[in-house]
């Protein structure tokens, strides 16, 4: 379909553009971007885009599919719809499905059904953290990179993985977490965990693993993406490592930027995350981290669970929450509408930088580029309910709440 978007506010972090103009889209490509476009084919569909924002498609570093294995939580089809409905044009999915994506056949099957979803290949067989997968074959099969989505505790294995990976030229995403220290902790240890009577997961459960990981990276030299950064001390460790020139990038999740342990007063099972929500101090440090570029990107870590799975006591709830359809409106309201971040800063964290962390060319709004775009209305309000979500699961603390900001259209 050929379209003319008239007087749309264009945000393009790649070129640093924030201006209002007309955008002509022909046959899936951006044909022209000009202050006013007067020449266009007769079959064009015109749209008045007053008050709307057009940015490059959003890119999610890591989220979970239910399929294969847990289709009642999310199918590949519903996941893809949720991504598009949330403005995401590229979605990297974690391999801890059932069976896991740890062999080329699993990659091929997934890509055949859902070309928009790109899998991370498992680092270890069965994502068990024991034995390396055939990473070279997986790389040839088209994985975006390597991740288990679970901590790899064995540092000897981790070291060999990072060495073996070097000639393959693919990104690797690691989650720094030390399970013995985490224990049965279900929320960040602190005054709030004491008050709420919930077992504490101490910050050192993350930072001690991160410090060890950074030492391995420094010794081996393989670039590493650190996923799910959740503590203030981790931000310091990463800042220090980057200042020493370590080849690392890092991400935190959208929930960790918006909420902290105080929210758990509600005991809402969808606030049970791994890593857990940080203290208010952690949350502020993470915001500083993304503002200053110490943390490169915001990930969604969309983790669907059914109503039955999540309607249990907080401690018994499986960790994770959905987010693809909620992240942009809520981040915009809390970070941009408040003036803390510029629109371009937020868009860079959700589109350009995640693509770069995946070693991909980021989407951009340039004549000649494919139309990989998100049209966003920051003022439109809508209610989060099961009928309004494409995701099959509704495990989010915002269920039933009214949000301001909605994705109008996604081109991908």
């Amino acid at each position: 379909m050929n379209e003319l978007l008239q007087q749309v506010r264009i945000l393009d972090p790649v070129s640093g553009t924030d201006k209002t103009a007309d955008v002509l889209i022909i046959d899936g490509y951006i044909k022209a971007v000009e202050n006013q476009i007067y020449e266009f084919p007769s079959d064009i569909q015109m749209r008045n885009c007053h008050d709307l924002i057009l940015g490059p498609g959003l890119v999610d570093l890591y989220s979970h599919s239910g399929e294969p294995g847990f289709e009642e939580r999310e199918t590949l089809e519903s996941l893809q719809k949720a991504a598009i409905s949330g403005g995401f044009t590229r979605l990297a999915i974690l391999p801890n499905t059932s069976p896991p994506i740890d062999n080329p056949a699993a990659v091929a099957k997934l890509q055949k059904n859902s070309p928009r979803l790109i899998p991370w290949g498992a680092i270890t067989q069965g994502v068990q953290g024991q034995q390396m997968t055939e990473m070279a074959e997986l790389a040839d099969a088209g994985v975006v990179g390597f991740a288990d989505g679970k901590p790899i505790v064995n540092l000897a294995l981790l070291r060999r993985v990072l060495e073996y990976l070097q000639p393959l030229g693919k990104p690797i995403a690691l989650w720094a977490s030390y399970p013995e220290l985490v224990g049965n902790g279900v929320m960040r240890e602190g005054a709030d965990s004491i008050r709420f009577g919930l077992s504490g997961n101490p910050a050192i459960g993350e930072t001690s693993a991160l410090a060890a990981l950074l030492e391995v990276v420094a010794a081996v030299g393989t670039p590493v993406h650190i996923m799910r950064v959740s503590t203030a001390r981790s931000v310091q460790l990463i800042e220090d490592a980057r200042s020493r020139g370590l080849p690392i990038t890092a991400s935190t999740t959208w929930m960790h930027l918006l909420l902290d342990t105080e929210a758990i007063a509600s005991y809402h099972p969808s606030l049970r995350l791994e890593p857990p929500l940080g203290t208010p101090n952690d949350r502020l440090a993470l915001r500083r981290g993304i503002k200053q570029g110490i943390i490169d990107a915001i990930a969604i870590d969309h983790t669907p669970y059914t109503y039955e799975e999540k309607t249990v006591a907080f401690s018994e709830a499986p960790p994770g929450a959905i987010g693809l359809e909620l992240a942009l409106p809520l981040l915009w309201q809390n970070l941009v509408a408040t003036g803390e971040f510029s629109p371009l800063e937020l868009w860079r964290l959700l589109s350009t930088r995640p693509a770069e962390c995946l070693q991909q060319t980021p989407p951009t709004i340039n004549p000649g580029s494919p139309a990989e775009l998100t049209l966003f209305s920051p003022q439109e309000t809508w209610q989060v309910n099961i009928n309004n979500l494409c995701s099959l699961s509704a495990n989010t603390p915002w269920l039933g709440k009214e949000l301001t900001g909605r994705i109008v259209q996604t081109w991908c």
Partner: protein, 335 residues
């Protein structure tokens, strides 16, 4: 009596006000009097249904609530997890809604995890059901009825006829043991500090992390209650010095496998309540324990049976009167 009571659910004592404590104590005292009569029953909750939803097994607390409800002439229902549908895919909210559909007025809820009574109370409010929820112990969070019966027991020792919280002003109450995992300690910290008592916590650092001090100081400012007096001790002797009341807590054996303690023996040596240690306290000191007691671990076996010191059986008796008061206040008083 109960004329200014507005609270619909009793989930936590964190925001209880001094006036509310006094209403509970006065109400309990009048029910205590009922319990001393020949006919120990009043028609207060006649026609009302009290459901004991004990997702975590408990005999003592469940029986105490059941007896309290029966003394108030309520009809009682019991939920036993062994025969429940929870293993068949039913959620906790489904269970609560089933009891709502049976016409339950008050749900008394115990669960091994924190937050479940609150979740059910929220669901009942969302459904505009008028059902009141009473937390009978949730995980390591709170156990309000236990703390209130402790408060009632202590106040009754100080002034049997007219228990009121001002009696506790500047009294020293020492809580010894596994504070970290104790819902009883958490509720007691709220109630005793609100009453103006000096509360001293004692235990090894693994079971009494410094975070307890932060927790109370962070909740200082937004409260209508005068400054809460809370002190932490990793040695038991200074905590016991001149104490008026000593509360010991049950120590679970599994703490040894969690790297929290080397042995029960060393625990008893360092923190066990013995006759010798009680000499540090004020004369006339009384000892409380929420039960069940590990004899010879948290308290010397013979002390437990010594009426000169032990308030343990008074606590159990007070429990029925307090629970009658709570059921009356959230059930009967508002209708």
């Amino acid at each position: 009596m109960g004329s200014i009571w507005t609270r619909e659910h009793i989930i936590s004592l964190a925001d209880f006000l001094p006036a509310e404590y006094d209403i509970v104590l006065q109400t309990a005292a009048s029910f205590q009097e009922v319990l001393s009569r020949r006919v120990k029953k009043v028609p207060t909750l006649q026609g009302q249904v009290v459901a004991n939803l004990f997702f975590e097994p408990s005999t003592r607390t469940r029986n105490s609530f059941e007896l309290a409800a029966k003394r108030l002439s309520a009809d009682t229902l019991s939920f036993a997890p062994a025969s429940s549908s929870l293993t068949k895919g039913e959620t906790i909210l489904d269970t609560a809604k089933t009891y709502l559909a049976m016409g339950t007025n008050i749900m008394v809820i115990r669960h091994r995890e924190a937050g479940v009574p609150q979740a059910i109370a929220q669901e009942m409010d969302r459904l505009q059901s008028q059902v009141s929820v009473l937390n009978a112990g949730d995980g390591q969070h709170e156990h309000p009825s236990q703390a209130l019966l402790d408060l009632f027991t202590i106040c009754s020792v100080l002034e049997p006829k007219q228990p009121k919280i001002e009696l506790l002003q500047n009294k020293k109450v020492t809580i010894v043991g596994d504070i970290l995992h104790s819902r009883v300690a958490r509720s007691n910290i709220w109630s005793l500090t609100a009453a103006g008592a000096e509360v001293h916590l004692a235990g090894p650092p693994t079971l009494l992390p410094k975070l307890f001090a932060d927790w109370v100081s962070e909740n200082q400012a937004n409260s209508a209650i005068p400054e809460r007096k809370l002190f932490l001790h990793w040695d038991v002797e200074p905590a016991l010095k001149d104490a008026d009341f000593v509360m010991t807590l049950r120590l679970q054996r599994e703490r040894m496998t969690q790297h929290l303690l080397p042995s029960l023996r060393e625990y008893h040596q360092r923190y066990g309540i013995t006759r010798a240690r009680l000499k540090l306290c004020k004369s006339g000191v009384k000892v409380l324990h929420p039960g069940p007691v590990n004899r010879g671990v948290e308290i010397s076996s013979d002390l437990m049976d010594d009426p000169e010191f032990s308030l343990i059986s008074q606590q159990v008796t007070s429990g029925v009167a307090i629970r009658m008061a709570l059921l009356y206040l959230i059930g009967g008083a508002k209708s």
